[in-house]
Symmetry: C2
Subunit: 317 residues, 2 copies
């Protein structure tokens, strides 16, 4: 298919977004290493601007626009972190951002959009409603649509995360990242397939929202609507552009239950002293479920975000 980003796009993305994002730290935990029997390197995108890796793709898309296109603003649909990230990047460039958000999006994520000056249009919490509402808005405004994951600029931007991880940590046997629509995993595949093709790539998915797992089993995209999981960033489905990468480069999709995700989130808070959102805990949860698979290995985990409503938090037991 057209418009598949290349490694050159990743290199260009890195140069483009460097002024606007943090180079996030990589943390380790002796306790978790011993618990699992592996050496784990956590790339902490919860400490990224807007509290999530999504700042990377959003900045790459927005700062790559011509002045004429930028003047019409940008628009997207997103349940969460991409919404805040696009609003943040748009504010940096001084242009408008409009975000279609499902009515059940977390309050903190809506508040983030507003705090950066983004405009919210609410819709029903289905993929179809999100896309239809966005189409209407764009027909009206002419804004550039920056899809949360099905966009080559976004995938190239997200790829800069594993690029940094690879620069800082040698010889990773595996990298694990959560999978929702597949933007981060696609970027991870894009960068590693050039930089370190021997590194295995695992996608971590909630068992409650296992469309990617089913897709790998079926050998084609399987979509499931209205998936529900505490990992609210991972309820979306793959698209052909992300399936391109997932089908070619992902070794396996590993699953975790809702309780396992919350336990892993809580364990990370307690032992690593960082706030991560449920979606970010899925990779650790699947490692705990598959200790033998990772025994003695050097494993990178991408902690995708830390935007959780602490006042109404599923992990605070």
């Amino acid at each position: 298919m057209d418009d598949i980003p290349t490694f050159d796009d990743v290199v260009a993305a890195r140069e483009r977004i460097t002024p606007y994002i943090h180079r996030t730290p990589i943390l380790t935990s002796s306790y978790l290493n011993q618990l699992i029997g592996a050496e784990i390197f956590f790339k902490c995108e919860n400490l990224q601007k807007v509290g999530a890796f999504k700042a990377r793709g959003a900045c790459n898309a927005i700062f790559g626009l011509s002045d004429a296109d930028a003047a019409k603003g940008v628009a997207t649909h997103s349940s969460g972190n991409h919404a805040g990230a696009l609003s943040f990047a748009a504010a940096l460039r001084g242009i408008d951002a409009t975000v279609v958000m499902p009515t059940n999006a977390p309050k903190t994520k809506k508040a983030a959009v507003r705090s950066y000056g983004g405009k919210i249009i609410e819709c029903e919490p289905t993929q179809a409603a999100r896309e239809a509402t966005l189409e209407q808005e764009v027909a009206r405004s002419g804004a550039d649509v920056v899809h949360p994951y099905d966009d080559p600029r976004v995938i190239a931007g997200q790829a800069t995360c594993v690029l940094e991880l690879h620069q800082d940590i040698d010889d990773l046997d595996a990298v694990i990242a959560p999978i929702g629509g597949g933007g981060l995993i696609s970027g991870t595949c894009l960068a590693l397939s050039t930089l370190s093709p021997q590194t295995k790539i695992y996608a971590a998915e909630p068992a409650n929202a296992d469309d990617a797992y089913r897709s790998i089993q079926a050998g084609e995209i399987v979509t499931r609507d209205a998936q529900q999981s505490v990992a609210d960033g991972l309820k979306t489905n793959l698209r052909p552009r992300t399936w391109h990468f997932v089908s070619r480069f992902v070794t396996d999709v590993l699953l975790a239950s809702e309780d396992e995700i919350l336990d892993a989130m809580y364990l990370t808070w307690e032992r690593m002293k960082i706030i991560i959102e449920p979606s970010s805990a899925v990779p650790l949860a699947v490692m705990l479920n598959n200790k033998k698979l990772f025994q003695g290995q050097r494993v990178g985990i991408i902690i995708t975000g830390g935007n959780v409503d602490l006042k109404n938090c599923p992990g605070c037991k």
Copy 2:
């Protein structure tokens, strides 16, 4: 007085402890910078081994012992993080650690001691009881006493924290650290008085445990017994060795109320995505109380620890 550590001791400490500790990251938050009107650099010792800067002083003391002295073990009294840190460092060297802890010490901090193989002796929650109990134990075992702050090896070890901060961040106008017994502040004074004497040093203290504030006012050590604060690491009193540094090099002691401390802790969790314990939130709380004092300045804050009982947490409202 005798036994005041020198800058050479700090350099030696750094070399001695480097294999055993993390070089912790320094984080920033655009949101907090804007809120306060300053540029703040958070040195994140909550991400240190054992979740607190105390790993530095403990490792320096223990790895500086002769083999003969080490063989008798080490002992201390501590309400918290020093206890875990000493047990951690002793385990690394393969020697015994005995810790006198007040009966009201947080459960998580007792659990930390046990997890590293340290032995706990409980006592009443007063300074006098702690010291008497420790004396008895040492008379029995001959263990080397590593006081949580009134020890030149510990002060030199804690000084390595601001040494790293100074290496990473130029031209700090001020550094703020919490003050309890004064070990960290003394180390901060020790290092900065050589490295950057123009940098002002502020001690941040709970108004409920304001012995250091009263000491500065009185021009001599004022002790207060059984101080109670949510910042459980800061209830101890100064000693002559820490007063030596505080009286010479600390510009001011700034106070925060219990609510202000919890609000600052919560704000840090939410905006910076890191877990900090109440004691660590006092510097941010005093900045919020004294915005004018820090306007336009470059300020380092030492986040001292992240060991908080999440299941029984005063900040989870």
